[in-house]
């Protein structure tokens, strides 16, 4: 026993001491910790953070975005939108190559956009793209059926990876293409190893077309599904960066670690909204006054300040409050129990009613705790709420997608432009039985439909903003959804790391400037 413990102790300390790495100016390894498991690494056919973080390192894209929502050159050194908004021309750099040595040409860009259009779940991103011309190897001409102001944002790394046509265009279904697990791109890092559900190892691309980048030698994405284990790994220095951290306890705890910096910057385009959806087809909820009564009964401030320890922020409308399109003048439904009771009486439910609330299986404080708080709060206006937990995602998705729910809590992303992440929830032609994250509220309003359709093609930013303002006023009155709070995404990272991305896409963006400081 003694000998054994001595041996183990010696081994433990030997391994432990060798994990302490010296500081690098250039080079070095960045270990990103994540609780999310990517299916594969091809962001052209898969949305979500889990794929986007590695995919934006492996694949370059036509444009990238800074923290002011301004497009910046990437594979396209310049671009031009025609006056009528129907043609977008991209001029590509001439020195970009894929990791296998082949040049990146206009053919690859055209193929990638058309493939993404056909296969990515966000149909609205490239829906108006009719055809793409490639007059020469460096010129891409995108022809649109209608003006499409969301197009430039959709050319971001998180949404429009440029795929090598010579690798993927072989007749196989791209959604299950074997190369999705071992992709070849033209981004700053090349895939070395992908262990599904465990780790992704990325090595520096020595032939990256932006000179002097990337700074790091290696990025390793470690998947640690248990958040508490992940926290300890961050505290112990086993991991260097934890993006998309949303738990208030996690945030408060890592803020206390001396060697870590914690920031909320870098999530403007993600727009993660936690909300309560109403099944407007239910006889109990079809009356807007009942929905408004529920809104008046709930106190957003209690949720953000007490339940979330002040790390999350209230969200009043369908467009994330940090977006340039958000309209702050929409009704906020400040808590007013008398008004709520009066509305219930007006709607003919003076004796109250019974309702069931579902919630997406996820972080307790964003879902279950709020559902339980609502139960106690709604009791005050005569609504007897049953909180119905789902054992797992498929069960919840089956209920909500199948319209078998009354109230349901959910987290839905804006994805930068309202066309991409907002329209889907409110357009009446997107009421689709069995499809999650469609208009499962079954909300239909002709005026809303026409406003959204007009905003989708309006190229004048001011006019577009006005259209979205009107839309927000209407849905904030109709309340197919009661928006609760923005998910408090934070990034924790080793304070020695330099240039951690704080643009609108956070780490769903090339980490080519990140380096280890002294």
């Amino acid at each position: 026993m003694k000998l054994m413990s001595r041996l183990f102790g010696a081994a433990a300390f030997a391994a432990l001491s060798s994990t302490a790495l010296p500081a690098f100016a250039d080079g070095g390894t960045l270990v990103i910790a994540s609780t999310q498991v990517p299916r594969h690494l091809n962001g052209a056919v898969q949305s979500g953070i889990a794929t986007a973080v590695p995919s934006t390192q492996i694949f370059a894209s036509p444009l990238r975005y800074d923290e002011n929502w301004e497009p910046q050159p990437y594979l396209a050194k310049s671009w031009d939108v025609s006056e009528d908004g129907l043609t977008v021309t991209l001029n590509l750099v001439d020195n970009a190559t894929f990791h296998d040595g082949e040049a990146v040409t206009s053919e690859d860009v055209a193929y990638s956009i058309m493939t993404t259009k056909a296969n990515h779940p966000f149909k609205s991103m490239f829906a108006p793209v009719e055809s793409i011309d490639t007059p020469d190897a460096q010129t891409v001409v995108i022809n649109l059926s209608s003006p499409h102001p969301a197009l430039l944002l959709a050319l971001s790394p998180a949404l429009a990876p440029v795929l090598p046509k010579h690798v993927f265009d072989d007749g196989q279904d791209i959604k299950s293409h074997p190369m999705n697990a071992t992709p070849v791109g033209s981004g700053p890092f090349m895939l070395e190893e992908f262990k599904p559900g465990e780790a992704i190892v990325l090595k520096k691309n020595p032939n990256f077309f932006l000179e002097g980048r990337p700074k790091l030698d290696e990025i390793i994405v470690r998947i640690i599904k248990d958040p508490s284990a992940l926290l300890i790994a961050m505290e112990n220095g086993e991991a260097d960066m934890y993006p998309f951290m949303a738990g208030s306890q996690e945030i408060r705890r890592l803020e206390k670690a001396d060697h870590l910096t914690v920031t909320a910057d870098g999530y403007a385009a993600v727009g993660p909204i936690n909300w309560l959806a109403f099944n407007t087809a239910s006889p109990k909820l079809s009356d807007v006054r009942v929905r408004q009564a529920i809104a008046y009964a709930v106190d957003r401030d209690f949720i953000t300040k007490a339940l979330h320890r002040g790390v999350s922020s209230p969200q009043r409308g369908p467009i994330i409050e940090g977006s340039p399109f958000f309209d702050a003048s929409i009704p906020a439904y400040d808590t007013d129990l008398d008004k709520a009771k009066a509305l219930m009486t007006e709607a003919g439910f003076a004796d109250g009613m019974e309702l069931t609330i579902d919630y997406i299986p996820g972080p307790k404080e964003q879902q279950q705790s709020i559902a339980e708080y609502m139960k106690s709060q709604l009791k005050k206006i005569g609504i007897d709420v049953t909180v119905r937990a789902a054992p797992d995602f498929p069960t919840w998705a089956g209920r909500v997608g199948g319209h078998d729910f009354e109230l349901s809590m959910d987290i839905v992303f804006n994805w930068g432009d309202p066309v991409i992440g907002v329209h889907r929830t409110y357009l009446s032609n997107n009421i689709r039985q069995g499809v999650i994250w469609s208009n499962t509220q079954q909300y239909a309003n002709d005026k809303v439909d026409s406003l959204l359709n007009a905003a989708a093609v309006e190229i004048d930013p001011e006019k577009r903003k006005a259209l979205y303002s009107e839309f927000q006023q209407i849905v904030a009155t109709d309340l197919p959804v009661y928006w609760i709070n923005a998910l408090p995404y934070h990034t924790a990272y080793d304070a020695k790391l330099q240039n951690v991305p704080t643009g609108i896409w956070g780490s769903m963006h090339p980490l080519d400037m990140v380096s280890w400081g002294e």
Partner: protein
């Protein structure tokens, strides 16, 4: 005689495996939830057409009996299918994880037998002594405490409060390029907490079992004879008594192997150990049918093999059993 015994045992084993395959297939389909919705959900929402094409691609729109027939046919030809979630062959996913699971389970098995039997023997020496009481109390606690709780407590104690062990995983990612020796040390370093967590529950059982078994043997005539001959205490305990007391331990060890594998599922989840148990757990949540069935297939194969090996070693250890069917 032994050969025919072996052939019969393997034959039973194969039949059992076939039953396991069919049963697993049917059981897993009883769970609510549609894998197509999960896949589409993971992709970020989908249209009806996409859901339909996913069902088509994975054969989920065929009648259940047809799906079962196809699956059994594939398994018989050695094809476990592709994971719905990762789009990779299930065999590849399992190949990446089977060694970590075997490492964990075998280490835990060895630790629990070695330490458990040692404690049991010590306790049996003085049945009413302090050590004996300690073993009894420890065994009761070890058996009663849930394995995931032990794991979390060990993590808090030895990875957070007193950070001498890594909190999760099997290897430190920063040591990927280190020499073989350092890597082995690193894996051992990561192995200690999960292996102990898994071992504790069985360790307690072995301690109790060997204590009881030893007490019985220590009362026999030949032990008295050995004592009369002047054999040393150590020689009596370990040479004369333990060998005879070992038979029930061996039986239990074989039977426990299946439990160890299911225990590994929890331990792997707690410690983020990259083994088959965690793959199974995640796959169940994702309704990734082929992966779940592939893992269960391998897990039951391991149990069947372990049982055959136990039967054989039992025959080796006890000459009286040889020649019996």
């Amino acid at each position: 005689m032994t050969a025919s015994f072996l052939i019969r045992r393997i034959g039973y084993g194969l039949l059992l495996m076939l039953g396991v395959v069919v049963l697993n297939f049917l059981l897993i389909r009883l769970a609510p939830g549609d894998p197509a919705v999960v896949i589409a959900g993971e992709m970020g929402g989908a249209t009806e057409e996409m859901l339909e094409s996913i069902r088509e691609e994975y054969g989920l729109n065929k009648p259940l009996v047809v799906q079962l027939g196809i699956y059994v046919g594939n398994v018989l030809t050695g094809n476990l299918g592709d994971s719905f979630f990762f789009n990779q062959p299930v065999a590849t996913l399992i190949a990446q994880r089977i060694l970590p699971t075997i490492l964990l389970v075998v280490t835990a098995q060895v630790l629990s037998i070695a330490i458990g039997v040692f404690l049991g023997v010590i306790a049996a020496r003085k049945p009413n002594g302090v050590m004996s009481a300690f073993v009894s109390v420890f065994a009761t606690i070890g058996y009663a405490v849930p394995v995931f709780w032990t794991g979390i407590m060990l993590i808090i104690l030895f990875a957070s409060v007193l950070p001498i062990f890594p909190v999760e995983g099997m290897q430190s990612v920063k040591l990927r390029d280190a020499g073989v020796f350092v890597q082995i040390l690193d894996i051992l370093h990561h192995l200690i907490l999960p292996a102990f967590t898994l071992a504790i529950i069985y360790l307690a059982q072995y301690a109790r079992l060997s204590r009881a078994s030893m007490l019985e043997v220590l009362g026999s005539d030949y032990i008295r004879t050995a004592k009369a001959k002047g054999a040393s205490q150590r020689s009596i305990l370990f040479k004369h008594a333990l060998r005879n007391a070992a038979l029930p331990i061996l039986t239990v060890a074989g039977l426990q192997f299946g439990n160890l594998i299911s225990g590994a599922l929890l331990v792997e989840t707690v410690f983020n150990w990259p083994g088959m148990g965690r793959l199974a757990f995640d796959s169940i949540l994702r309704r990734d049918y082929p992966t779940i069935m592939g893992v269960l297939f391998f897990a039951s194969a391991m149990v069947v093999i372990a049982n055959i090996l136990t039967d054989m070693s039992y025959r080796l250890a006890d000459p009286r059993l040889r020649g019996k069917g």
